[in-house]
Symmetry: C2
Subunit: 301 residues, 2 copies
């Protein structure tokens, strides 16, 4: 089944204590789409780039079988650029710069073939633009969205309108606390259910993720990574991997979502082992399966 990913396609500059890379391929849409592509589905990407977006990057996305009909190229614009720096333990990220460029005012219009995509992942973006994607689709089977502190603080009303229309909200623990004003993450997730989503997935980085519905609680492990190179995109890889798995099994049950979250964690674990999507370029599905089985063993008691 097809997965539609709406997210950013960016040129990133990333600094870690060990290395600095400039204008590498990044963005929530890229990480999520590539993650979803490992599961044998058609992945349709919606986003925008400028005339400076390298052909080599487009080629990488095409190599992963990602449909780029929905990737708008603004010939007189520049691509979204983001710069960030991580400290030694990778838990603190400082944003060095954000140049919105072509992102600003972008009104996504879905190509006809995109409108029937049953699995929608709306990566972090303005709630209004995320809602506009939902409204352009017909009968999506599962709508999953992400958000971040900026929208929680600045676009609260639009965000609440969006939440009433999504099936699953994926967000970080700090964002769950911010959205609800509740320091207890479990209680915060339960509160968010009242805004509309039937499931809230809270990402906790190296500590895994939890999924909460009215009647279920799931604790997904993270894959233990000994050498983190660059955590950028981990959350979007997680969500994209999850969507890719769900679309491949055509199932949105509790069982399927649990497996999907663990597949998402595995794809994210590869992502952080190198900068940009360098590690994903070399990942074989057998490696994904192998880490999935390792995690099955890691939680067994």
């Amino acid at each position: 089944m097809a997965v539609l990913v709406f997210g950013t396609v960016t040129l990133d500059t990333v600094e870690t204590p060990r290395r600095r890379v400039e204008d590498v391929l990044g963005g929530s849409g890229v990480y999520a789409a590539i993650a979803a592509s490992f599961f044998g589905n058609t992945v349709r990407l919606v986003g925008v780039v400028g005339a400076d977006f390298p052909q080599t990057y487009t080629a990488i996305l095409e190599t992963h079988g990602i449909d780029l009909q929905g990737l708008t190229r603004v010939e007189d614009g520049k691509s979204f650029r983001w710069g960030g720096r991580y400290t030694e333990d990778f838990n603190v990220r400082d944003t060095l710069f954000t140049e919105l460029n072509v992102i600003e005012g972008f009104q996504p219009v879905l190509p006809e073939t995109y409108k029937e995509a049953p699995y929608l992942f709306l990566a972090n973006n303005s709630p209004a633009s995320q809602l506009s994607i939902i409204e352009q689709t017909t009968h999506p089977k599962l709508v999953v969205c992400d958000t971040m502190d900026f929208w929680i603080n600045e676009e609260r009303e639009a965000l609440e309108a969006l939440l009433a229309r999504v099936d699953v909200l994926v967000l970080n623990d700090s964002e769950a606390r911010l959205l609800t004003g509740d320091a207890n993450v479990v209680r915060a997730a339960e509160t968010i259910l009242r805004y509309g989503p039937e499931r809230v997935i809270v990402k906790k980085g190296e500590h895994g993720a939890i999924s909460i519905t009215e009647s279920s609680y799931f604790n997904a492990p993270a894959y233990p990574i000994r050498q983190v190179a660059d955590p950028t995109g981990a959350g979007d890889s997680f969500a994209g991997g999850m969507m890719g798995y769900l679309a491949s099994v055509e199932d949105t049950s509790e069982e399927a979502i649990r497996s999907a979250m663990v597949y998402g964690a595995v794809v994210a674990s590869f992502n952080i082992e190198d900068f940009s999507i360098n590690r994903q370029k070399r990942v074989q599905f057998s490696e994904i399966s192998s880490r999935y089985r390792e995690l099955q063993d890691a939680v067994r008691f």
Copy 2:
């Protein structure tokens, strides 16, 4: 089988955003011993109190069947007092005061009946006193110890000598980082194995715990608590519950330790639901079993 617990027995003052309690029963030895007592074993406590230690507190420990022969009462001394304050999200604890009193210079001497205890838990204490307990015992089947930043910084050499003699080291993630200078917790735990323990268990509070040996990796969930009253003693309850379960099944295999860690997490979850050991006073074993089964379901995929 008997569990020997060496730890502090204190009068605690605890402040949270909602409540303040003064001179309540606390200490690593108390939390660990009570946790171990739920599993039907003899628990032998080694510690020291002053003449001011209330008879009602001694009675509570006796109600839990804890052997207090090894609890020295210094008639001209005052009990160890500790005061701490938690912030809203319970992740930051400020120590308000520490009055060592009778703890200072205490040289534990084991009663004869204690020497053959097969399961030893050495709660956080000076590495020299922890080692002295090991040396007074005969053939312990499993030696588990805890430590903290103070000893890592101030008594490094003695701590390394201790680590060469223990089977399992239990410590917080921040302590694992401090001990090894490695920000990556998985790698830090693997490094600690080289000091001697065959297993390192890293406690991560609300994120659960991980266990690492040369050939295994286990990710234990935390029980999701919606209303935390006071996290004091959670780590010692975890370790004590773990020891209590292991002694009850007389098994130290990987399988047994995995179950034991989850039982430890469950006992810790009750501990933090009220101040001091108030919640534990009312816990039935059926409640422990019930939360254990809930955690089995929470990690299943």
